[in-house]
């Protein structure tokens, strides 16, 4: 298995980030906390994440703008975004979150166990997709090897059919080279 799943936590308030980190404590996920949308984009340029917890209201680049950048990049567009906001009265906010591609929405104060449950689902999904990727790579590798061996068998058969004093030794050399490198 490759890397440990990572969660990107984005909030302009340090105490909120610390609370989020505490909530995720014990889950099989590494929390990476940043204090702005800009810093979140920087992280996404150098690392891959299983899930993003994104504060909707931040100064300068807010959560919606951050999400819209994330959604426009092929490599990050499928990373699930959980929007977190204090504006529980405004149903419009939830709609805007979904419109930019958020997969879910939590209003503060939220139940820590609900957040934990949601994050662990995305972490499971990420781990499964990593496994699938690894299996796909292994399958590709096997296909390539099978292809190489088949070609060598054909080549060895040609050599044998052509006959000649050294045919058997040549064919054997080809086969052993393909098998053992």
């Amino acid at each position: 298995m490759a890397d440990r799943a990572k969660a990107l936590l984005v909030d302009d308030r340090r105490d909120n980030l610390m609370a989020l980190e505490a909530i995720l404590q014990g889950l099989p996920v590494q929390a990476v906390a940043v204090e702005s949308g800009e810093a979140a984009l920087k992280q996404l340029l150098v690392d891959d994440f299983a899930v993003i917890l994104l504060d909707a209201q931040m100064p300068n680049m807010d959560g919606f703008e951050t999400a819209s950048h994330i959604k426009r990049r092929e490599r990050t567009r499928h990373v699930p975004i959980l929007f977190l906001t204090a504006a529980d009265r405004d149903a419009q906010l939830a709609l805007r979150g979904y419109a930019v591609g958020a997969v879910d929405y939590l209003t503060k104060p939220f139940d820590p166990w609900v957040l934990r449950a949601k994050v662990s689902i995305f972490v499971d999904l990420w781990n499964k997709s990593q496994q699938l990727k690894a299996q796909a790579d292994a399958a590709r590798e096997r296909d390539a090897q099978w292809q190489r061996l088949t070609e060598t068998v054909d080549e060895a058969a040609r050599v044998l059919r052509a006959g000649g004093a050294n045919a058997a030794a040549e064919a054997l050399a080809l086969l052993e080279k393909a098998r053992w490198g």
Binding site: V46, N60, D62, S68, R72, R75, A87, R96, V100
Partner: protein, 194 residues
């Protein structure tokens, strides 16, 4: 932009000060009114292009699998530029400052070309490029400057600092791809000749 869900063009970047009023107005948060002043200052790296499809030009083919290091402190623009370059099959490494850019370069010998922002706080693009050129290993590495303004003399100062070439923002993506392909291939031909 945020009012058009699912549009998702990797080649489109709007000016930040166009984005802001639209994305903040319905929120009416107390923090936002002070913001536009900060944000209106940077021009977009990319010229808006309407076609969202991945366009494969011969130049882009030559860049498939190449590695580019972008050194630029404006992450909005870098993110858009990175999306576009990744769509063309490039591997993108990123640093938001000159010192880390040089460190990344030392750690990643696979870098084929560098895109360098001229204007950065602390160590600007000129100084960073001089730092890169001081290392013998990077004497022939293509370093292409991105600058906001086409001021007379800028090209000369960039080339004087050791830049290979120069392109002004907002960057036309096709032009950038052609230019990058030219320099990456020139460097490869040079390497083959020994």
């Amino acid at each position: 932009m945020s009012s058009s869900p699912g549009k998702g063009s990797a080649f489109t970047l709007y000016l930040p000060d166009v984005l802001l009023p639209e994305s903040v107005a319905p929120l009416a948060t107390p923090v936002s009114p002070a913001v536009p002043v900060v944000r209106g200052t940077t021009p977009a790296i990319l010229r808006p292009v309407s076609a969202p499809e991945r366009r494969i030009s011969p130049a882009a083919h030559q860049l498939d699998g190449a590695t580019v290091l972008i050194v630029d402190d404006d992450v909005r623009n870098v993110f858009a530029l990175t999306s576009a370059l990744e769509m063309h099959g490039l591997q993108v490494l990123y640093s938001d400052n000159g010192a880390e850019g040089i460190r990344l370069l030392a750690e990643h010998p696979e870098v084929d070309i560098v895109l360098m922002d001229a204007m950065m706080p602390d160590q600007d693009g000129y100084e960073t490029t001089r730092g890169i050129r001081r290392n013998k290993r990077f004497q022939d590495l293509p370093v292409v400057f991105l600058t906001a303004k086409a001021m007379p003399g800028d090209r000369e100062s960039a080339l004087g600092a050791g830049a290979t070439d120069y392109i002004t923002k907002p960057v036309d993506l096709d032009e950038l791809i052609r230019l990058m392909a030219r320099w990456v291939n020139a460097a490869e031909t040079e390497a083959e000749r020994g």
